[in-house]
Symmetry: C2
Subunit: 350 residues, 2 copies
DNA sequence: TTCCGATCTGAAATCGATTTCAACTCTCAG
DNA sequence: CTGAGAGTTGAAATCGATTTCAGATCGGAA
């Protein structure tokens, strides 16, 4: 397992290291016969360039990082998988940072990556503003499903506003008028947009938006459980619930199940994400589908073009782009027409 | 954001680069006053060593990698999270490789990592033998929950055999005599051990082991679904099922649910792993618990000591260790005493 | 024939650290 | 007083690539 160096290859071919290096990085500069000879020799002895030497001399940076909020959440796990494969195809090392929404962890990861001259970072989480600004100054950044500030950082998001509308319109079509909404943490802009879609659709249909119909969740399963508990304390129960992500919707489903509230007969439920994994569980959730593959692919392409210096310059600040991926509504088994009958009396736990 | 070099620091302190380097790597060699002065200056200007330069000159390798079978499976997601944090604490970059049990992907990842002089690889999956041998020759390796060959590669596994026994003994105590087993892919040795525990426990209790009571799964949810379908084709249905992992057990649960087979009244079910996530779903699964934290921590420590060259030498081949972490049985809600009544007739789908 | 430019190649500097080796200063035993 | 040895420090080589710059070769236009 001896590794050859570029000068050894050069010696073997009776040429100079410079030429061998050119074959590697700029083959056009080397005449064909020599180039072929060098290539053959490299192949023959299994030459691999020393990655540290080349990065040192070419002054290049290193690898990509992906920040995710919670790797146990399949939405993020799918992102990790997809970005991981894309990076692999390009032979770019990818460091996955599972921050668990912890600012301290975020900071430590980021410091570390910047010290190590990371070439770029993709954020798929509600990262804090200071972190994001620091990253943005020192390396290339792209946000997935997160809005920062117009024109400052490239973002790829689903059309959360339209998604919010799609869900709400669908529920209205089913005659629901009393629709609960489960939101996300305050630093998660996507949920805000979904809420806006929900709210504006209601108002356009002359249904007053009521604050108490919004429960602030945290994206996790347990939030959904607590949300349903909360909604049941209201004098007037919602006949449908729109959750800002699937995990919380499944929390609702589970809690409803244990309270003997049947879905969709007693309560309609609609999620957001449409994670394939969840559909394996008995009930197929109706949900707004995000096109995770498209989100990832687009974000990754933007990152690549940044790495290749294709973001020409920053003269007009318009180098940072914002891409919006459309959402679609996937009809499952958790919504039904509201018949106007009052919600069935149910027993409460605890 | 200018980065200082070691010679600039040296100049600022009126000393030589060699001394500055020593402060970094071998502080004992530098007299205290000078050392402090240099440290203060580095602090002051925010000096960070160039990682490529130091690796090039010290001839060191780079980072760790973690291979997992399927990142969507929470068992592996938990491993990714834990190892990720451990690596972060040590400031070691970690590349996560989600192989999806695809040999081609395995190979590509591995080639790539070896070319990049990865310092070590932790495998948490049923990686193929050729891959593992190649890795082992060129870098440090540790296996999690996977057996290779005694004394050749360090391994950390749960006590799968005892886990298999624990589950089976528990079911026997509950009077079950007809116990189905859902296994794993053939290259996954842990499942073999669990099966051995199951089989030997049965035989010690003079219950004949029957081949048709073993269904070969693939660790995924769908396998559990198919397993239950299979068991229902048998002339004599099992009264209990022991699944080699939780995901397949949940497949059984889900399928049972849709077939109106109630668990645990009609069928007892026991899983393996005890992933916290799953317990959020309505039914709390009875399962053999693996101590994932201990698995990861131990594996990581072994890796660190290898990286620090503490595996003195290979003279007697005994440098590679095998650590076994005990399992415990967690009683949930999916097992009940077998009353001897014949399994209720159920309607079949499809 | 001469000269220019295009094409190709090699010598040498460079990237930013680490490490060897030698030199220098002190202390202290003989 | 001398010399050995410990403790400190700096000069310079080295790691393995990239890149600049200049020189060599060749074809074709004047």
């Amino acid at each position: 397992m001896v590794r050859y160096t570029i000068s050894e290859i050069a010696k073997l071919c009776g040429t100079s290291p410079a030429t061998v290096s050119r074959v590697l990085n700029n083959p056009g500069l080397v005449a064909e016969p020599l180039r072929d000879r060098i290539r053959k020799k490299m192949e023959e002895v299994g030459y691999k360039p020393n990655p540290f030497a080349s990065r040192l001399s070419s002054q290049s940076r290193w690898g990509l990082a992906l920040f995710v909020f919670d790797i146990l959440n399949p939405f993020f796990a799918l992102i990790v998988r997809k970005i991981g494969h894309l990076a692999m195809e390009q032979r770019i090392p990818l460091t996955v940072c599972d921050t668990e929404n912890n600012e301290e962890k975020e900071r430590i990861y980021l410091d570390y990556l910047l010290d190590n001259k990371i070439a770029g970072i993709i954020f798929a989480e509600g990262i804090s503003i200071p972190t994001i600004e620091r990253a943005q100054q020192q390396t290339e950044t792209v946000l997935i499903d997160r809005h920062y500030r117009e024109g400052l950082i490239s973002e790829v998001t689903s059309d959360n506003y339209m998604g919010g509308r799609q869900a709400t319109e669908y529920l209205l079509q089913l005659n629901h008028r009393n629709i609960g909404f489960i939101g996300g943490p305050s630093n998660w802009s996507s949920a805000e947009e979904r809420l806006r879609g929900y709210r504006e659709t209601l108002e356009e249909n002359e249904i007053p938006f009521r604050k108490e119909m919004v429960f602030p969740g945290d994206l996790r399963f347990e939030s959904g459980v607590r949300a349903l508990e909360y909604f049941l304390t209201l004098p007037e129960w919602p006949s449908a619930i729109f959750s800002a992500n699937d995990q919380m919707a499944f929390g609702v489903l589970s809690k409803a199940n244990s309270l003997n509230i049947s879905i969709p007969e007693d309560l309609s439920l609609i999620g957001f994400d449409d994670i394939p994994v969840y559909n394996l569980y008995t009930t197929i959730l109706t949900a707004v589908r995000q096109d995770i593959d498209a989100l990832c692919t687009t974000a990754f392409e933007i990152m690549l073009s940044k790495l290749n210096g294709e973001s020409a310059g920053f003269e007009d600040g318009s180098e940072e782009s914002r891409t919006v991926i459309p959402t679609t509504l996937k009809i499952g088994e958790t919504c039904s027409k509201y018949t106007g009958s009052p919600a069935r009396r149910v027993q409460r736990n605890g």
